[in-house]
Amino acid sequence: MSACDPYDAHCITCGDVAVEMRVVEVNESLAVCEAEGEEREVEVALLDDVQAGDRLLVHADVGLVKL
């Protein structure tokens, strides 16, 4: 999951892209999530009861859906 590179083949916003990530650790409304070996800090305030091991659909560092 690369950042949105101006010459890359995909833009998260324009593509309405959401990425499946696994929760590693939860710290209040932020969670460390992992996908393809890369970790990101993700807002999980929109979801109920997020715990380590959950799989989330993440868009622009916000968890939108618990899978």
Partner: protein
């Protein structure tokens, strides 16, 4: 990968294509619009259109936020980026969108501190790391992205980060769809609804399309089988005389959306009375600004912006492409003066733009009719 490999299975794709063939009426021409730029990209990346009968035509909609940004808004962003002490942040694609006098990348080359970020949260981190600089986030996107901006602004306010602000260009999906349906030069038979926008807004906001305009809507995921399945569901509705909103993407989209995301958006944003969309003109109540409660974090109030309306380049036919009136290759400058490397129109900038999708996947001459 789970939820990916299963939805890229070529054998299953052939089966769904055969089912599609079974529900189309010979002699009838079907026009189905995929609203979302992500769908456009997937259709050409995976060759979904090659599996469809000749009388099923896909029309590419206005669901790429970069593609609908008018030149004047880019100029306003560049004006802020050139203010002394400003760090201007935005998503990658936005950097290459031409304003009337160059792009944000050009402004960066000329000395402005323009930085690409992956999320608004990244921009807020820059603001916290550089408290002596003004950090501005250029927010674009539909309802999928707006909650991310809203939560970041709520966090900035709660943490008292005073050197952070947002130039808000978020747009909403329903008003342009209504404008398209009112357009006399466009006949559509159904819509492939946006998948991830619907995780936020749910399926309910699309109910006006079957109710008021008699057209089916099927909300779809982004894998090739998702899209083929959605096309089959639309054509099956037409064959059976049904007309409703259906949800193909049930593994992700709840019918009522994400109520917390909607509440965050309602707190942070307010509807603009009108907003200019490239190619579609001014559409009332189609975009968001920061609410009065968040006025202190509004970059358009913190900095002076030109706010001048700039007409699109005459040679560019992005407007007709965005409305689905012409195919990208029918534009006079497609693939010649306008390429992804030197885009004239925004539809060629973003890979999710219809023109770039056609260009990148070699669809630029296949169907061209030479007079």
């Amino acid at each position: 990968m789970k939820f990916v490999d299963e939805f890229r299975d070529g054998t299953l794709g052939q089966k769904v294509a055969a089912q599609i063939l079974g529900v189309v009426e010979p002699g009838r021409h079907y026009k189905v619009m995929e609203v979302c730029g992500g769908h456009t990209h997937s259709i050409y990346r995976y060759g979904v259109d090659d599996l469809l009968p000749e009388n099923v035509e896909l029309v590419h909609g206005p669901g790429c936020p970069v593609c609908v940004i008018p030149m004047g808004r880019v100029d306003d962003g560049i004006a802020i980026a050139r203010e002394p002490g400003v760090i201007f942040t935005c998503f990658g694609d936005m950097l290459r969108v031409p304003g009337s006098n160059g792009t944000l990348l050009d402004a960066k080359a000329q000395g402005a501190d323009v930085r690409m970020v992956y999320s608004p949260l990244d921009a807020l981190r820059i603001a916290k790391a550089e408290p002596d600089r003004q950090v501005v986030f250029f927010a674009i996107g539909f309802e999928t992205t707006a909650p991310s901006t809203a939560l970041t602004l709520m966090r900035a306010r709660a943490e008292g980060v005073e050197n952070f602000s947002c130039m808000c260009n978020h747009v909403t999906i329903v008003p342009p769809l209504r404008a398209l349906l009112e357009s006399p030069d466009l006949r559509l038979d159904g819509f492939i609804g946006p998948g991830h926008v619907s995780t936020v807004v749910g399926a309910r906001p699309f109910e006006f399309i079957p109710a008021d305009y008699g057209r089916p809507v099927v909300i779809a995921g982004f894998e090739p089988l998702d899209i083929l399945h959605a096309i089959h569901m639309i054509l099956a509705q037409l064959a059976e005389g049904r007309c409703e909103v259906e949800n193909q993407y049930t593994r992700v989209v709840p019918y009522d959306g994400n109520t917390r995301a909607l509440a965050a958006m309602a707190e942070v944003f307010a509807l603009r009375p009108h907003f200019e969309w490239r190619g579609l003109g001014f559409i009332s109540q189609s975009a968001l600004r920061l609410s009065d409660a968040y006025a202190a974090l509004d970059a358009e109030r913190r900095f002076s912006v030109p706010g001048v309306r700039v007409a699109d380049p005459k040679a560019c036919q992005c407007g007709e492409v965005l409305k689905g009136v012409i195919k990208p290759w029918e534009c006079k400058v497609f693939g010649t003066a306008c390429t992804p490397e030197h885009a004239i129109g925004t539809c060629m900038v973003s890979p999710e733009g219809a023109c770039a999708a056609y260009y990148n996947y070699g669809r630029f001459a296949r169907d061209r009719v030479v007079a």
